[in-house]
């Protein structure tokens, strides 16, 4: 499959799966017939040429495949109903794709339904909406193909057996459900950006997928400021991707990053998208996080960034946001206050980043022995090799500091450097 053909497939996959899901009422069956249509395309397009309207060709071929299948497999009562519904689907292979109803948004809401587990939502969204192959999703999440295939089968079965609706939620529940969708995209991005396992710190393919999906959501929900807020956030975070990993593959924190490695194109795009979000006049947590990321990108005053965090905790007082706010306060210079706030977040004790942040504050206060303990706690809670390497390096530094100040537990501030004899 040539790259351009692959790109076409990715584009056309969710449109076709969405239409067939609505008509057949079964996302698993829809995927099967669309998959068959793509298999036919791989055989025929290189030989006969790419059709004038690839999307319409796929939908029409999947529709015909579904008709064949239903004639063979279904009992009479359901058969007549399904065949009648398939009759209404675009059968013209050359039709303009814009004449085919766009039901990708309904598909996205189905895949991100809260009745599914978070892992199932992510897998299903990447499979059905992003059009990734099962083995690609498996590789991204470091599980075997069989495990991922099983996860997808269970998710599709649950959609069918519990009656998860295929539709854009009605207005009265839409505000509750949009965050579910955005959260799935953010989790996909985060899995790519701060990979929880494996050798690479960043899995760029997942980041790119999340951004592509966020752009699709913005196209499908042009009045939803948080969709633009999320897209801006992802673009701005992604702009620092290359600077986050040093020459030897080690993690580089924001303050130490080489700004020349930041992707200015992504920053510009992120800032533009954020303006678009703000213009809609309804702030939300993603927009505020994007504003924070924009502040970092533009080299804003750390106190101003900490102030945006103050606004963010009032609408999202989750422990992770409170932790990040504490880190921002440290950046702005008030390390004791930051440590006080971090120490109040013991519910994050299972989270490597909590211990790493705490260790960093203790280190900067010269409390090396306590910092060493916190680095060890952080190390015990991450499987990412690059994060481990970073934490080990910091741990060695503070351990050296402990030895320097004598074996007694360090307290107060770091002793002044001794002059060499």
């Amino acid at each position: 499959v040539t790259p351009s053909l692959e790109a076409t497939f990715r584009e056309e996959w969710p449109r076709a799966v969405a239409i067939l899901t609505r008509v057949l009422g079964d996302i698993g069956l829809a995927e099967d017939v669309v998959q068959d249509a793509f298999t036919k395309a791989i055989e025929r397009w290189p030989r006969d040429g790419v059709p004038r309207s690839p999307g319409a060709w796929i939908v029409a071929t999947a529709r015909n495949g579904a008709i064949d299948r239903i004639r063979r497999e279904r009992t009479f009562a359901r058969k007549a109903e399904l065949l009648a519904r398939l009759d209404d689907v675009q059968a013209d292979e050359d039709a303009d794709v814009s004449t085919i109803p766009d039901e990708r948004l309904a598909l996205l809401f189905t895949c991100c339904h809260p009745a599914l587990g978070v892992e199932a939502r992510i897998a299903l969204t990447l499979r059905e909406v992003a059009g990734l192959a099962t083995h690609e999703i498996a590789r991204a999440f470091l599980v075997t193909d069989a495990t991922m295939a099983q996860r997808l089968v269970r998710a599709k079965r649950r959609v069918r057996d519990t009656g998860i609706p295929f539709r854009v939620p009605p207005d009265e529940v839409l505000p509750d459900r949009v965050p579910d969708v955005l959260r799935v995209l953010y989790l996909v991005f985060n899995e790519g950006y701060a990979a929880s396992g494996g050798e690479r710190l960043v899995r760029a393919d997942l980041c790119a997928e999340a951004i592509r999906l966020a752009k699709l959501v913005c196209v499908l929900m042009p009045d939803e400021p948080e969709a633009f807020g999320l897209l801006a956030l992802l673009l701005l975070q992604d702009s620092r991707r290359d600077a986050r990993v040093g020459r030897d593959g080690e993690l580089v924190l924001l303050g130490d990053q080489d700004r020349a490695l930041w992707d200015t194109h992504a920053i510009d795009e992120g800032l533009r998208v954020l303006q678009r979000a703000k213009a809609l006049g309804r702030p939300g947590p993603y927009q505020l996080q994007a504003a924070i990321a924009a502040g970092h990108a533009e080299g804003a005053d750390p106190a101003a960034i900490a102030a945006v965090y103050d606004a963010l905790v009032t609408i999202d007082p989750s422990p992770v946001v409170r932790l990040n706010r504490a880190v921002a306060i440290a950046f702005a210079g008030d390390i004791p206050r930051a440590l006080e706030l971090v120490d109040g977040l013991s519910e994050l004790g299972g989270y490597s980043y909590f211990h790493a942040a705490r260790a960093d504050l203790l280190r900067r206060l010269g409390r090396d022995a306590e910092a060493a303990g916190a680095y060890r706690e952080a190390l015990a809670r991450t499987d990412n090799l690059l994060e481990q390497r970073f934490l080990e390096r910091r741990l060695r530094e503070v351990e050296a500091g402990v030895r320097e100040s004598g074996a007694a537990p360090a307290h107060g501030r770091r002793p002044p450097p001794r002059s060499r004899p």
Partner: protein, 119 residues
């Protein structure tokens, strides 16, 4: 889709109330039950609902090595026991969740939504 909505609640808490108090609480929640029945009837005119007698009156039957063993219920030693159920056909899970949240008992106990398998 056909769903069973199972109503769970703490029946011992009811049993501990004296009769006038229990009657007062029942009276108090009645308008909301009536509103629920109206809403359910609109969503599915063929909806069926049943209230179950107290779980302490249940009998549990098992067959162990071919022998019939009958014990006093309830089956599980949990505080929340099933106290009633509805069987209703609704368009989708979102609608089932909306209806379940209207059941007054959802505030003191919980509602379990179980899709009914249709072959």
């Amino acid at each position: 889709m056909k769903y069973a909505l199972l109503v769970y609640g703490d029946q011992s808490a009811w049993a501990e109330l004296d009769e006038p108090e229990a009657a007062r609480l029942r009276e108090e929640s009645m308008p909301r039950w009536l509103a629920l029945f109206e809403e359910m009837g609109k969503a599915d005119p063929a909806v069926e609902g049943r209230e179950l007698a107290a779980a302490v009156d249940a009998k549990v039957v098992r067959v162990v090595d071919g022998e019939r063993v009958v014990t006093d219920g309830p089956f599980a030693e949990t505080k929340e026991q099933i106290g009633g159920l509805f069987v209703t056909t609704l368009p989708d899970l979102d609608e089932a969740i909306r209806i379940a949240a209207l059941v007054p008992a959802a505030e003191r106990g919980s509602l379990e939504i179980r899709p009914i398998v249709e072959r």
